[in-house]
């Protein structure tokens, strides 16, 4: 770091800007993701530095400590409408900002969100082969990578499921877990894709009892600290440890109020928040609306614990009869902030469990998507958007 002092002394900031290492190490690495994406517009050199995969990995590593102590910053969300194809919106519960969000591919469905990366299913709108492909996508940087599967005997074996395992507190690189059956007679295979090396690892010796076809749907896994969870309330749930490649069956969720049954307007949703898996059961009847949140204890012997029970009648009385879940925000460090995001036609509402109060964060009744008395967004199309530069 020897630079001569020029005759007309330059400002320190200019000296920093002239040296890539100083600029990256002293300034860029410390900035939050949103600012960095904006500062790509400063100059082509800044765009190139900020977009480099090397910088992205370094930034993800540097900031993973921050994620565990997020303080009062809540994750944002991407909300999908029920239209065909769905339209998406970016929603920030901190600021109430609500903006259209477009994916590069018009026929996109979000399969999973994991700590800043999304797993997308992209459909080919024209009839043709292949009908779908999958992409790992970073909504902050807007970079994506297509998932390429290995072929067996010259063709693609049946894919039963695909999940994303990504935890920046462990590594800035992600893994994909794919369950396949090479042919009708074989047992399931599990394959792991390592993005760090761009290779697939095949595991055929995984201990798993052969189960009838309709019971095996390894989609929409949840990536938590210690593994990948496939949770189906009312059915078998599994946990897969990506490091040891061990698959185990998990304890069932006990529903004290009876299992939610979607025919009567009740549902359950599996979401990850604050590093833990949660099951949110909604009981949205005509007269009574309430919601229960179960948390999967990190200590696996304890299993599922009922964490919050929320009476949402006050919310529906104030805003209109209908409510739908958008997502949950659980804060292990600041319990008073733990809350649920709800959707009533034309608005997004936050309900705090601890203090039992609610606030309308966003009113989009003047938006083109709004229709009176109709929901705009589908719960299953709403995902957390965590800012991250993680490389794909």
């Amino acid at each position: 770091m020897d630079h001569k002092i020029s005759p007309s002394p330059k400002m320190a900031a200019e000296l920093i800007a002239e040296n890539d290492d100083l600029l990256t190490g002293l300034i860029l690495l410390r900035l939050p993701e949103k600012s960095l994406m904006r500062f790509k517009s400063v100059s082509k050199r800044w765009q190139s530095l900020i977009s480099s995969p090397h910088f992205a990995a370094a930034h993800t590593n540097h900031h993973h400590h921050r994620r565990r102590r997020r303080g009062r910053i809540l994750p944002s969300f991407i909300l999908g409408t029920a239209a065909q194809p769905p339209e998406f919106f970016y929603f920030n519960p901190n600021t109430g900002v609500f903006l259209p969000y477009t994916f590069e591919h018009p026929h996109t469905k979000i399969l999973q969100s994991s700590h800043g990366l999304l797993l997308l299913e992209c459909r080919n709108p024209r009839l043709g082969f292949p009908r779908v492909h999958y992409r790992v996508y970073n909504p902050t940087t807007r970079k994506s990578r297509k998932v390429e599967f290995d072929e067996y005997e010259g063709r693609l074996a049946w894919i039963w499921g695909l999940s994303l395992s990504f935890d920046p507190s462990i590594s800035p690189y992600y893994k994909l877990i794919c369950t396949r059956r090479p042919n009708f007679y074989s047992t399931l295979w599990i394959e792991i894709y390592h993005s760090e090396t761009d290779t697939w690892q095949h595991i055929t010796g995984v201990e798993i009892n052969y189960t009838p076809i309709h019971d095996l749907q390894y989609w929409a896994g949840i990536s938590c600290n210690d593994g990948l969870y496939w949770i189906r309330p009312g059915s078998k749930s599994y946990r897969f440890d990506v490091q040891t490649r061990h698959l185990e069956e998990m304890s069932a969720i006990k529903f004290p109020w009876g299992e939610p049954d979607s025919s009567s307007g009740n549902n359950n949703y599996i979401v990850e928040s604050d590093g833990n898996a949660h099951c949110v059961c909604t009981y949205f009847g005509y007269k009574n609306k309430y919601l229960i949140v179960y948390e999967l204890s990190p200590d696996r012997d304890t299993g599922w614990v009922e964490k919050y029970w929320a009476d949402l009648n006050p919310v529906s009385e104030a805003t209109g009869l209908c409510l739908r879940l958008v997502g949950i925000i659980m804060r292990g460090d600041k319990e008073v902030d733990s809350s649920v995001l709800l959707h009533a036609p034309g608005m997004i509402i936050r309900y705090w469990f601890w203090v039992k109060r609610f606030e309308v964060l966003c009113n989009f009744t003047s938006s083109t998507i709004y229709k009176k008395d109709e929901f705009q967004f589908k719960t299953k199309f709403c995902y957390q958007f965590i800012e991250s530069l993680a490389p794909v």
């Binding site: 770091m1 630079h3 002092i5 002394p9 330059k10 400002m11 320190a12 900031a13 200019e14 000296l15 920093i16 800007a17 100083l22 190490g25 002293l26 300034i27 690495l29 410390r30 900035l31 939050p32 949103k34 600012s35 994406m37 904006r38 500062f39 790509k40 517009s41 400063v42 100059s43 082509k44 050199r45 800044w46 765009q47 970016y90 920030n92 600021t95 900002v97 903006l99 969000y101 807007r142």
Partner: protein, 168 residues
């Protein structure tokens, strides 16, 4: 700091614009750069710091004296007090001064100060506009209007809540 058997020494630090400052060695060696120079045998004479000007060096020395004066009780209490000191030390500095400080802390290899100043700079910059950044860092915009519009469109959501550009 290792226990020393010789009597406390004072060092003379010289900035690149010729100003000289006396500092207790125990405070000065918070800078690994200075510590290395002392170990290489510069203690007798004057230690030249070619990449720091007098104004910034004076501030750095205030910091060194302040931090080394914090009594060490327990490691955690110590850290709280030091962090508190750093926050106060940086609290009324403008952006240009912070930039001087971060370059100096980097050259002098003072990692705690450097981290604190970097974090403060990030805090200051976080909500600033693209125009502000170009002005402060002396950067010329090499995008064509079309290119710039395309990059902005791609990251539209990041322009919400930005401080409006003013001429200061």
């Amino acid at each position: 700091m290792a226990a020393e058997t010789r009597t406390p020494t004072t060092l003379t630090l010289k900035s690149n614009d010729g100003k000289q400052f006396s500092v207790a060695e125990s405070a000065a060696i918070l800078s690994v750069t200075i510590r290395n120079m002392v170990e290489d045998g510069c203690a007798g004479g004057v230690i030249p710091l070619v990449n720091v000007d007098g104004k910034t060096l004076a501030r750095v020395i205030t910091y060194m004296n302040g931090i080394s004066a914090i009594p060490g009780v327990g490691a955690a209490a110590d850290e709280e007090k030091k962090k508190s000191y750093r926050d106060k030390f940086l609290s009324d500095m403008d952006f240009e001064t912070l930039a001087d400080m971060v370059l100096a802390a980097n050259y002098l290899n003072m990692s705690c100060l450097m981290d604190a100043v970097s974090a403060k700079i990030a805090q200051v910059m976080e909500k600033k506009s693209v125009g502000w950044v170009r002005r402060k860092f002396g950067i010329e915009n090499d995008y064509t209007p079309e290119e710039e519009a395309a990059v902005k469109e791609e990251h539209k959501w990041t322009f919400e809540g930005v401080e409006t550009d003013d001429d200061n």
